[in-house]
Symmetry: C2
Subunit: 152 residues, 2 copies
DNA sequence: GTAATTCGTTGACCTTGATCAATAAAGACG
DNA sequence: CGTCTTTATTGATCAAGGTCAACGAATTAC
């Protein structure tokens, strides 16, 4: 998935690890990670039919099953339960965005890192620190310093 | 709506202006504003059935129509179109959270203020500056300085 | 009309995290 | 094994925005 195109697909990751990023002055800012059994898409662009501000790339070798919006809509007509899934999906995404926003509103860099450590240790294990830094919207040096402080 | 209680209602504002806030060390951090024809709720608590981390208060004298979750569910059974509204609502809230998060990930305080000025001038007109500051997660002094720089 | 609040502005100084540069580990690969 | 490349750590310095305090303007209360 490239920046600037309207995202008209959703992927389901069978194996591997992907990232979805914004660009800011040429740096990547991580919007989200996704791995096995996660959906991956620029759902914002998908829903609004506007050009994507994000790019989606692999971090590890990855196998993804992709379905287009068209195909999904057709499926929806013959299998009405898909509407329900879609509602749940919207809800889940809302909750996720909300949590992340809340963390930016209320927590310091250090608190965000600590929470990520305890709540998503799977991610922190698997993903290099400089990507974690980007996800928390801080520089890798800052993560390094936070770690130092909290192991003294 | 008080912090700590599970939010099991949604309000529709007929007239007036409300705010929904987090608390951080005794200060209010504005999560959102809502006015005429807007829904107001701690939808996060509503959906997850967990105690609210927010408080909802009036900024102006306000008239609100309130419906409980129970009542809404019952209505949903007799009027299936409500399921559709609920999906749209989730979607809209996702998009809103996304935009706000994106702004925190990519923009400076000054850029966030400028965007708010151009995109939500209705709010900026109507709401005292110190509340706008809180919504943008900066101090009132900072808004004051941003304004100064941009009128010189 | 004057006092008392409340909100916005300004200045001096401080803190958090960014930037830049150097170095150290840790993997990848011949 | 040693070399090359990528990631992590550390130090020195800088900038954005926060904090604290003073002052003004505007609104409300009496």
């Amino acid at each position: 998935m490239e920046e600037g195109k309207i995202c008209n697909k959703v992927g389901l990751i069978e194996s591997g690890l992907m990232k979805c990023v914004f660009h800011k002055h040429g740096d990547e800012i991580i919007f989200e990670f996704a791995f096995e059994n996660n959906f991956i898409s620029d759902y914002y662009s998908f829903v609004t039919d506007t050009p994507s501000a994000k790019e989606i790339k692999c971090i590890e070798d990855t196998t993804v099953y992709v379905i287009t919006k068209d195909r999904l809509n057709k499926l929806g007509r013959s299998h009405p339960f898909i509407e329900g899934i879609s509602r749940q999906m919207n809800e889940k995404l809302f909750l996720r965005m909300h949590d992340r926003l809340k963390s930016f509103l209320l927590d310091t860099a250090s608190e965000r890192y600590m929470k990520l450590m305890s709540e998503r240790s799977d991610l922190v294990q698997r993903i290099p620190q400089y990507l974690i830094a980007s996800y928390l919207n801080v520089k890798p040096e800052t993560i390094s310093r936070i770690r130092k402080k909290n192991t003294l």
